[in-house]
């Protein structure tokens, strides 16, 4: 990493997080600092002019006017980041826009899979949990559709893929299958990767439905007895209780490595975007 230290000395990144985030915000911050960049922006919308009724575009124009070299933006409205990216003349990185996309998460997820297997082609990848309101699974599925991967989407019916994601995968000719969450144990033995996601309580208005679905799958040591030796368990984190902490010590658990990779992948992304020439 020292090879890249201060390679972007004097460049300025604006972290505009209109929704709070620890992991993504901090990994981008550390990545930028390691590259010698300066940082401005906010991690919390309540501290922003938005509270005074300013439009998103005006807020962003302000930072562009201050001479920032890149905007790293999270927003609570799907499509908001693309809207901005199409209207400013500097790079804009999507750090998550509601339940739509989280492309840098997909980058670190695919990097982590490749790091573990030395390849991506030929793998069987199961994705379980909240596939409807979560943004990481659609982004990962888009990325994996560039490879020869067999995808298995496992979720309660209420949380299965949205139609436009399914359509995109069909158009790409992706090899994917959908299963009810109850069939996890029967599918597990085939899988090389189990990608677990959190039920985002804030996405499910009904308290009862939330309680029902959150209990519908939990990854335990017991469950993993039927898995391949080489299975890796991934999670974008934060987790609540989808993966028991008893699993952390097993050879399958790769989610902390995955999180750590996020900072390095984001360093690489910033460097590839901003390096001179």
């Amino acid at each position: 990493m020292d090879a890249f230290r201060n390679k972007l000395d004097g460049k300025l990144a604006a972290l505009l997080f209109f929704e709070p985030s620890t992991r993504t915000h901090e990994s981008f911050r550390v990545a930028a600092l390691n590259l010698g960049m300066d940082i401005c922006g906010f991690a919390d919308p309540k501290a922003s002019s938005v509270a005074k009724g300013e439009s998103l575009m005006d807020t962003v124009k302000m930072f562009v006017g201050y001479g920032v070299d890149v905007i790293i933006m999270r927003h609570g409205k799907a499509g908001a980041v693309r809207y901005i990216a199409e209207r400013v003349n500097i790079p804009v990185i999507n750090a998550g826009d509601d339940s739509n996309e989280h492309p840098t998460q997909a980058l670190l997820d695919t990097y982590t899979i490749h790091e573990a297997f030395g390849k991506i082609d030929g793998l069987k990848v199961g994705m379980i949990g909240d596939l409807r309101y979560g943004r990481t699974v659609p982004s990962l599925a888009y990325a994996l559709s560039n490879f020869d991967v067999e995808m298995h989407f496992i979720a309660p019916p209420a949380l299965m893929l949205r139609e436009h994601v399914r359509m995109f995968l069909e158009e790409r000719g992706a090899d994917f299958h959908e299963h009810d969450v109850s069939s996890l144990s029967s599918i597990l033995p085939e899988l090389d990767v189990l990608y677990v996601t959190r039920i985002q309580k804030e996405r499910i208005p009904d308290e009862m439905e939330y309680e029902k679905v959150r209990r519908s799958y939990t990854v335990t040591r017991e469950l993993l007895k039927n898995a391949k030796e080489s299975l890796i368990v991934m999670h974008p984190l934060p987790r609540v209780d989808e993966i028991r902490s008893e699993v952390d010590g097993t050879k399958h658990a790769l989610y902390f490595r995955q999180a750590s990779n996020g900072m390095y992948v984001r360093m690489a992304l910033l460097y590839s975007i901003l390096k001179e020439g």
Copy 2:
């Protein structure tokens, strides 16, 4: 700007924002970072010891004790910044104290006017909106009273200049006139500068009165048809809907340039205050 990069390397600025702000806080932050300064302080009073009942003076003394070279302070009480400036032995910059003053805004406003016309003397400057509770117009008027400028204050009666501002301008022998907001269109053709300000909802307790006044003036392309070719429209931002976005594309719109100038003017201010010798 590179000529000034890191000119203040190792100097430390305390940004003490007892009221939230995006624009002023971020432009000071970027200005300080561009000069190579380190930064401490808070952008949000809720994260400060004030919440534990500490006095303002004790909080400031703490930062002075940590060896900061300059204090940049916003506070919700008029006069609070002067109170501190008179009691510490390091420079204190007023980043806005309630409805009292916003001197660095006046600096960037006058710089922007001079940049546009190559002069300030001889211009006719209209200031419209909330002239009573807003702090930018009094500060700009104080600054312009140093020049041969014809000032026109345009506001609903409830939001016209406070008496002490009017008295100051009279004492300075400033050439100024007050008009009801209804006469905007008749005055506009004479103006070289139209300085628009936001109605600060938080300043007007009565909801009905707020709704009435906020609709009493809006800058549109239609309105600007009667303006001089060379008219510049300024706004301290954030705006809500005082200036329609349709105006952004016109040659009159200078408010984003104005905001951008803020960072450079604040760099110049910090450098002039803190440079050695």
Copy 3:
């Protein structure tokens, strides 16, 4: 201090403040910046993944994964910092864990006493205020138990030392005495150091009891007339009204010097922990 500037260039500190703090957070931040360190983390738990139900351990593991060199942590649960320190392979500094401990405060307090007297042995130190819910007095008492010091604990019965602190001092063979707050004036003349602490309203559920105890002691110029010439009055700050501001100007008042020492002591601590070889 310049001798140490940038001595830790490129090292990264994570400031994980699960409870808000101005003084401790800012003094660690300035200390780290003066040493050339980069900083990540949060000053406010509401901006952290904890709000999404993430476990403390997972949050900390994330920062470790990003390559931080040291964790500086404040937490609202007693023992939480030790819990983490025993589970990660990098240094963890306790920046205060509820009413349990605040060891870096004890370091700067003992440094300040030594700076004032050129020694610690042989002094008589009175500690008054909230000795039960406050964390600074137990930590200072533990530190002073390494010296030949006569300790006097002065508090209303409801706020006297907790049993485990008393037991620790007895085991150490410390020379300490407990007095009701009413006897402050009679003990004062003997003291070399009067260490005053704030009644932490948030620690006393009952409003009436809070009002009663907070008025039970106040340090005034009048009170100090009976003190030794050389008495020093200390306070961890923030204060509410335990020490009248009229005392600030007296030769006894050392609490601002004490706060200022905090930044330097924390610089020394970070350097001693992280310096190479």
